[in-house]
Amino acid sequence: MTDHEKYFSKRDPIAFPIWQKACVGIAGAGGLGSNIAIALARAGIGTLVIADFDTVSLENLNRQQFSLAQVGQPKVQAIAENIRAFNPFIELITYYDKVTPTNLPKLFGSCDLLLEAFDSADQKAMLIEAWTAEYPLKHLIAGSGLSGYGRGEHIKIEHFGYLHVVGDGISELQPEISPIAPRVAAVANLQANLALELLVKNHE
């Protein structure tokens, strides 16, 4: 039995209680999503809602937070397992399902804010349109432009009201080459970092 007090010692006395009460949604559990989920789980978000229709494949392991033993498992199941291995106190709600404008309220309606972690630009656009229409006053943090390696200086964070976009905004996926771990994780962690900030700001 993990000692609750010891586990949560040395946390930011003002921000941490806010994060503990928060419910954060992550649309996608792949490169961005799995990295975001782990960062937020470590930081102490109380409830994470994660949706992804895919299973772990071998080639995912170059950037996604899964292990060899998990190949073939639904990503949401695998990420939940990996999170519970270091955070036994978090509440995890997972959906092995595709996110659509129709099911958006059912999946993420109870979330304080949403992180976009899809792969295709079409899906990113769909989510942004649908979320903004349904929840115009709830923050959405998207990722756009993260493929390749190096060029860390080009990663930026842009704010458009309740929509925020992290990434370099230009790096297209190269044919037959998947995104690479450091840059993906950098963008994902900047998204997660912004989520922590917005939760505290919202609370003020």
């Binding site: 792949g30 656009a125 942004i128 756009s144 993260l146 842009e158 458009f160 790096s171």
Partner: protein, 50 residues
Amino acid sequence: MVRDALTLMNYTFKMLVIKLNGELVKKEDYDSTPIPENADLKVIHLISGG
């Protein structure tokens, strides 16, 4: 209309998010949404990957 601005700027329409004076303009409304004088038009080009 928003569509005309996109044509002028040479944007592919599929992978965009548009905010006009802070409000999101849906894809289906690009042809029917006028751009007022001194409008703040933000065109966010979304890139695949993640």
